[in-house]
């Protein structure tokens, strides 16, 4: 808890535009997040934040939003029950509803995976990524975070090919996730793949990349950023 608040404050001071709090173990364990920390985060942050993990119902989402989160991000539960997306959009508005998509290239096409928080439970969702992205938009997703699994954790750059493929069919904000390792990777996500935002975790946690420095670099590269 103290660590979460401290980290949130640090990123906010560095100039982050938005924070996402993931409990990636929530869905595979069949449990939900302990949400008392959400209020603690909301009390110190003056930038938007999103909570991901373990949100399986309208009531779960309402709890998180009432505690001060601006958005909820749904991944595996949306695959298990796509009507959840429709219900959330109707109840809270599309701007609250973020859909996380874990996707990987297989035999020349991109496929969706679920329960990726636990390697033993990760499985193919038997859906093509482009089909799923189209469906979630129809159902009221207000934002899509595309986590490109081939790139995740290897820090070789975002998967700009895959992001471009999805960008072409995505009329809501698209956020790149998975693969950031260097400043230029962020530039490429915006300038090459045309995403609306870039998400990263490890390079910021380890302080290898300072968010303020990154944004100054992006501004020099003529990317429109808030300094």
């Amino acid at each position: 808890m103290g660590d979460i608040i401290g980290l949130a404050e640090r990123y906010c001071a560095e100039g982050a535009d938005e924070l996402v709090f993931y409990d990636i173990t929530a869905s595979p364990d069949g449990r939900s997040v302990d949400r008392s920390w959400v209020s603690g985060v909301a009390a110190v942050l003056d930038i938007p934040f999103c909570v991901a993990g373990g949100i399986k119902s309208v009531a779960d989402a309402e709890d998180v939003l009432n505690k001060g989160a601006d958005k909820v991000s749904i991944n595996s539960p949306a695959l298990a029950n796509p009507t959840l997306i429709t219900e959330l959009a109707k109840r809270f508005g599309t701007q609250c509803v973020v859909i996380g998509v874990d996707s990987r290239e297989e035999n020349g096409s991109y496929s969706v995976y679920q329960y990726t928080g636990d390697p033993d439970k990760t499985k193919a969702a038997l859906r093509l990524t482009v089909d799923w992205v189209a469906e979630v938009q129809d159902r009221g997703a207000g934002e899509i975070v595309l986590n490109c699994m081939n790139q995740d954790g290897v820090r070789k750059g975002y998967d700009t090919d895959q992001l471009q493929t999805v960008r072409a069919i995505c009329s809501v904000p698209l956020i790149a996730s998975g693969g950031a390792g260097e400043l230029q990777h962020f530039r490429d996500a915006f300038a090459v793949a045309g995403v609306d935002g870039a998400l990263a975790a490890s390079v910021f946690h380890s302080a290898e990349i300072n968010i303020g420095d990154l944004k100054h670099y992006l501004a020099e590269q003529k990317i429109n950023v808030r300094i």
Binding site: A42, D46, I47, G68, A69, D70, E143, D196
Partner: protein, 200 residues
Amino acid sequence: MMPKVAIIDSGGANIASLLFALERLGTSAVLTTDAEVIRTAERVVLPGVGAAKDAMSRLAETGLIDVIRTLTQPVLGICLGMQLLCDASEEEDVECLGIIPGTARKLPAMIDYPVPNMGWCSTRMTKEHKTLADIENGSYFYYLHSYAVPVSKNTLAIASHADEFAAVIAYQNFIAAQFHPERSSSAGAKLLQNFIGTPQ
């Protein structure tokens, strides 16, 4: 002691961030549908996340429509709250409070401008107002919306997402922002501070 700010409970989730933002400024606030509390508060905020129709139904059910229309203290509408203060919204063609002239229109979805508009937009100040004092022209504010009020003579600030729209409007004692000041870092905090005046 009475809280300084009454936040009108229009039924949307996500009021906590606004309460926390006021708390950080050292201001007491209460979330309420009580007409007397709203009438006597020094400042009133009409927030709103969700659908215009639901929020208007909620205001009608709680008997607050005429209460809001006749408020004389400074009132701040935020996001959907801004749209509610206007004449109407294209969202499900709902009639709104009719306090500030204008009708909220759906943002046009274009290839480089996804809708909803979710993110930080540079915001250009076009008129002076005490609520915008000491906020740098071009400051970034955080937006989360699919509808917006067109620019009019009551517009104080303009932002753009494919087309220009009113970022801040003012009419008599009412002022409204399309962005979320409570989530707009130091620029947003400054706006709230200006609106509140002295914290207690």
